[in-house]
Symmetry: C2
């Protein structure tokens, strides 16, 4: 099987990028390779991680572009030049324009640190998600990997896994356990995509050969 | 420990009532007894179950009362006459008035067939919950036992348990697996209440001696 070309978009330290690089190095993802890492933030450690692994990395400066749409157009151009099969949002702190999403629909995946549709949407990111989970008093939370559509955290769900919320959890302790799950789910979703095992039908994602997971 | 007096409100076949009766008979709930079963539906099989188990049962006819508030007032009167400690909603198909909820706040529990706050609130009951779960395409659902407040399915959460959603699930197959979980969670919540192990603080429910669960 021909290897899928993966682009990773990241704004921060890039721990999810690292997890994907590790999964490829370990042979867990056999049919994918990271072609490029793109960041909107010059100081993103994700860029440094790419450099250390000999992966092409681009800082595309948002201040050069007048609108989000123009910025996204520039990013899309770089992705298409490299014949990108899969775009992974790994802590990319910019909301993608509808044009961008339509252009790559079914090829962009994101991970969210809750059980969508709970505690997601506008304003729910990072520690705010876990704060809301704790304030609500739910007993379970988790992580969700999904295809990106034009809404915020509303796209078809690929994988979800549950994390128990403990009575004495803090934002930090809960975030830590959810992050462990994120680091398991994201490589799994990338692997499934790279094996051509994901099929979107309306809002649903069917996984073929699911027994083999 | 003095036994808690439990009232069960049910409109239908009363499978959750049966589960509580069984848990008491089996000695799983040692510090509670069902004092009365009340239904708004003369033909509710829940009333027949109560009769067979020698439990007092009342059909209180809603058509006799002009408003929901007056009906609830009548029900509340019967509950207080019997010094009810805990009101369990077991498939009770009427929304309780704010007056009723305030009068018994912290002493009314309900079970909902999803992971609140997903797939709950107005219009989400019975098979509609599972239909919405399947249409959304989530990978996990479950059941939630909570204290009842003035909102719909918004009260403090006592217990939640997860059920995996399978790719080939139908409303019926999912409902069946969630029901199994409901039948485990509800007696557990009743047991914890009857052992005085639940404490509400704002939106959160703390379970004392949680290690012993």
């Amino acid at each position: 099987m021909k290897k899928k070309k993966i682009a990773v978009l990241a704004s921060g330290r890039g721990s999810n990028l690292q997890v994907i690089m590790d999964a490829i190095d370990a042979g867990y993802i056999e049919t994918g390779e990271i072609r490029v890492v793109i960041s909107d933030n010059r100081d993103a450690f994700a860029l440094e991680r790419a450099r250390r692994n000999g992966i092409e990395h681009l800082w595309i400066d948002p201040s050069v572009y007048d609108t989000r749409r123009e910025y996204d157009h520039a990013v899309a151009g770089e992705l298409e030049k490299r014949q990108t099969d899969l775009v992974v949002l790994a802590g990319f702190m910019r909301i993608l324009s509808p044009d961008f999403v339509r252009r790559f629909y079914g090829r962009i995946i994101n991970i969210h640190p809750s059980l969508i549709p709970s505690f997601c949407g506008e304003g729910y990111y990072g520690g705010r998600v876990h704060r809301a989970v704790l304030d609500y008093g739910v007993r379970v939370s988790g992580a969700t990997v999904h295809f990106v559509d034009e809404g915020t955290d509303t796209g078809p769900i690929i994988l979800q896994q549950v994390v128990e919320v403990k009575q004495d959890d803090t934002v930090e302790s809960l975030a830590e356990r959810v992050l462990e799950v994120e680091h398991r789910l994201l490589p799994e979703a990338v692997k499934l995509f790279c094996q051509d095992r994901l099929r979107i039908e309306g809002r649903k994602v069917y996984i073929s050969g699911d027994g083999a997971r």
